[in-house]
Amino acid sequence: MREVAVIGVGCTKFGEKWESSFRNLFVEAGALALEDANISGEQIDEIFVGNMSAGRFVEQEHIGALIADYAGLATNNIPATRVEAACASGGLSFKQAYTAVASGMSDIVVAAGVEKMTDVGTEVTTDVLAAAADREWEGIAGVTFPGLYAMIATDYMHRYGLTREQLAQVAVKNHENGAKNPNAQFQKPITLDTVLNSTLVADPLRLFDCSPVTDGAAAVILAPLDRAREFTDTPIKVLGAGQASSTIALHDRKDISTIDATVAAGNRAFKMAGVERKDIGFVEVHDCFTIAEICAIEDLGFCKKGEAGRLTEEGQTAIGGKIPINPSGGLKACGHPVGATGIKQVYETVKQLRGDAKGRQIDTEIGMTHNVGGTGATVVCHIFGRA
């Protein structure tokens, strides 16, 4: 396998983008990435795009071809593939792109992610997201996504004594980071009281425990490491990739509070990268709900089970802490356009490792991403380092 580097990144501002269509979003992110890599469209060999549900959000399937077409590449006839793994679609799209370059199949590959969520009402959004769970045996029982993670939180709090305040601190910390990210949907710090007094969505989770509904797109460009410096002075090397799956339904997990696919994907990525937990300067984790960040920190092996709440409370997961989590603001503050999130995590990681994360910069050479589909039926992790 060849070594692979990220040579360019682009990301739209995340939020309720009433003026932007599905097509506008990915064209905007793609153009930013090409500009960043200083390449032109004809140089692209292949495109992968992560997208959860354009079929239901904008009634459009066949996303690969659509993207290639509206990126102006139809006449080049390049391969374009849509990748779907619910909220892990972006991370998985990156992994497919990485594999394509590493294998020698393609040289210059775009890994993108896009989701246009606000063209449907909240009720439809709730239903579309619930399709990431088991429709026949969870969906029909009345699950919502906050409800599934709330059941993880109930179990976790009962077993490990996590406090409501510790959980709320995850959101406070992520909003603080988001406030320093110009692409974030919410760029406003919040207090513990804001979270604790917000509306109950699915007990014990409140509105400010939940990531928002977001439109957005992100794109990154990969190249063989030995060609990377043709395009950039600051290539970021892919050190490790790990992907894992687990049961589609939460009720079939052996341990409700442990996302076993996170454990497996994390271990695979670490093994491949040949680095230790202590080498990691920060992690962009999949905090679709505050409890998800708590589980992720532990399941990736940054502390023992039951300790992430205290770690968060002590400020160890903030920028400047022992293991900064979600410098971008995470899904909570930066926003969560489901298919784009995994690529946005790579975007943030590359920005950090290049030293370009103004106002939220962490001084490190290695960073990690963690992208989850459903309640953990798919997890994709990547570890990146300065080349």
Partner: protein, 129 residues
């Protein structure tokens, strides 16, 4: 859910009919046609679950969609059936009464409908035992 799709699992939903691997002894509800432990060595037969169990974890859903929109706030739970299998269900009880370990039993309820002129879906939910 289309009529054929619902009908296909109707017996399972009405009467908690799952499966049982006679090779390893595990019970599956929701039903599985393939034992994850024994794989091709597993012999799968139908099994009628007793319909009693206990709450493993739960949440109170304050905001929902579709057929569950008008039921809020309602208790959603993962239930471990006495035979050892786990499932997700709406528990019909006062929202402040549910707790981890609460014994529950099955009841027959409407699961939803395809609009006011469409098919009605019935099946199993749970109440405190």
């Amino acid at each position: 859910m289309s009529v054929a799709r619902f009908w296909r699992k109707q017996q399972n939903r009405y009467n908690l009919i799952g499966t049982h691997c006679t090779t390893c002894g595990k019970y599956f509800y929701p039903p599985r046609a393939f034992c994850p432990d024994c794989r091709r060595d597993g012999k799968i037969v139908e099994h009628q679950f007793k319909g009693t169990g206990k709450v493993v974890t739960y949440s109170i859903i304050r905001s929902s969609s579709g057929n569950f929109k008008l039921l809020t706030p309602y208790v959603l739970a993962i239930i471990e059936l006495d035979e050892g299998s786990r499932l997700t269900s709406h528990i019909i009880c006062e929202i402040d009464k549910v707790y981890i370990g609460m014994p529950v039993k099955r009841v027959f309820r409407k699961l939803g409908e395809e609009g006011s002129s469409g098919a009605i879906h019935y099946g199993t939910k749970f109440v405190p035992a």
